[in-house]
Symmetry: C2
Subunit: 227 residues, 2 copies
């Protein structure tokens, strides 16, 4: 499948690399590719994006707009606070009729740690994205675990834990479920309409507390729904 | 231990009965015991409180105030929207220096289903209770599952799932952990300070979505933190 991954942070990189490994035609989208390519110092993810890109020859780096235009399916892997802006740069016309997989969380670090989560039981980031881009089929998933578990759940407890799906379009959710299964997910719970993304986005406060409480190695834990 | 359970709904009843069964001296607190006793028609929990009380001879029904005055440990099992009011009726002096186990959720059904959850990543009900009653040692726990699982976790998957603890007083949390173990809990995660109750209170939106998505029997599921 032709896939755009919007965002060059650790989540975007990890998801893009895995999708390319699975044989998809993947373009990573960034605001200004020349600026992103010029960064040669190791960043907070350990490696400069350009160094990382050299190691993943199958991947291309393009503007948000060119990446989205290329794709049948777009992954929003930006920070949730800038997602609407990044997707606007990608262009509503380039998202129209496409599956938009939203894996972002709107974490506001402006007042320090832990960040405030910009979601409530009455509004989610995913719904704000759907409202802004009504022609896209938004599916929320994968926002409740670290990037490495997103694409390789089997590395923890043999994959015996849960990923959630929310969205208004059943066929879009079915396509995204296939992708998740190709990552190794076995326990996929379809929560229902996109409004149920409020629940998964609101898992972030306890996720952040667990990261502190459970200690090293940080964030190598996951939610499982026992039933 | 001398324990007050504040609240006569299904959560209060279930917890009170289990504590009495375990040999504790339990008083259930209600606003007006004569009104509660006079209710003889089956209510939305299936049984009138008076009928239920007759079957639990070891339990007494008293005012909020008398129940709290009696107790070494107080359980807040009221609806979260009225908890501060009920605890004010119990009397700050009757909570002073005591462990206050808050198992409530502030669910606002005024706009229909699903209810809005009156908590955010910046404020929890538990913290509002702690601020209102600074002399109490508030411990948040058990608010992330149905009442039957609260007191008997082994009935689902042999008890292989997780309960969370939040609170500012380590010895209060240790006492509450003992109580939880007496219920059958084995996987108890101390999340840290009381502010981490924001995370457990914000599990309610996904809990409500799961209740719809997973179907019958409703709410017989639980969170497990795999690590």
């Amino acid at each position: 499948m032709r896939i755009a991954v919007i965002g060059t942070g650790v989540v975007g990189r990890t998801v893009a690399a895995r999708l390319a490994e699975l044989g998809h035609d993947v373009v990573v989208g960034t605001r200004d590719p020349s600026v992103t390519r010029e960064r040669t110092q190791p960043d907070r993810f350990g490696t400069a994006f350009s160094t990382w890109l050299e190691k993943h020859a199958g991947l291309r780096l393009e503007t948000f707009e060119a990446a989205a235009a290329h794709a049948e399916l777009v992954v929003n892997a930006t920070s949730g606070l800038v997602s609407l802006d990044a997707l606007a740069s990608a262009g509503a016309a380039n998202l129209d009729g496409k599956i938009l997989v939203d894996i972002a969380n709107a974490l506001d670090f402006s007042k320090g740690m832990p960040p405030a989560v910009r979601a409530s039981s009455e509004e989610s980031l995913a719904e704000r994205i759907q409202t802004a881009f009504p022609g896209a089929h938004v599916v929320k998933t994968l926002n409740t675990m670290n990037a490495f578990l997103m694409v390789d759940p089997a590395q923890l407890a043999g994959g015996d834990h849960t990923v959630f799906l929310s969205g208004n379009d059943a066929s879009a959710k079915a396509r995204v479920s296939e992708l998740l299964r190709s990552f190794g997910w076995r326990d996929i719970i379809d929560l229902g309409e996109l409004s149920t993304a409020r629940g998964t986005e609101l898992l972030l406060p306890i996720w952040l507390s667990l990261m502190s409480a459970l200690g090293i190695p940080p964030s190598n834990f996951q939610f499982k729904i026992v039933r």
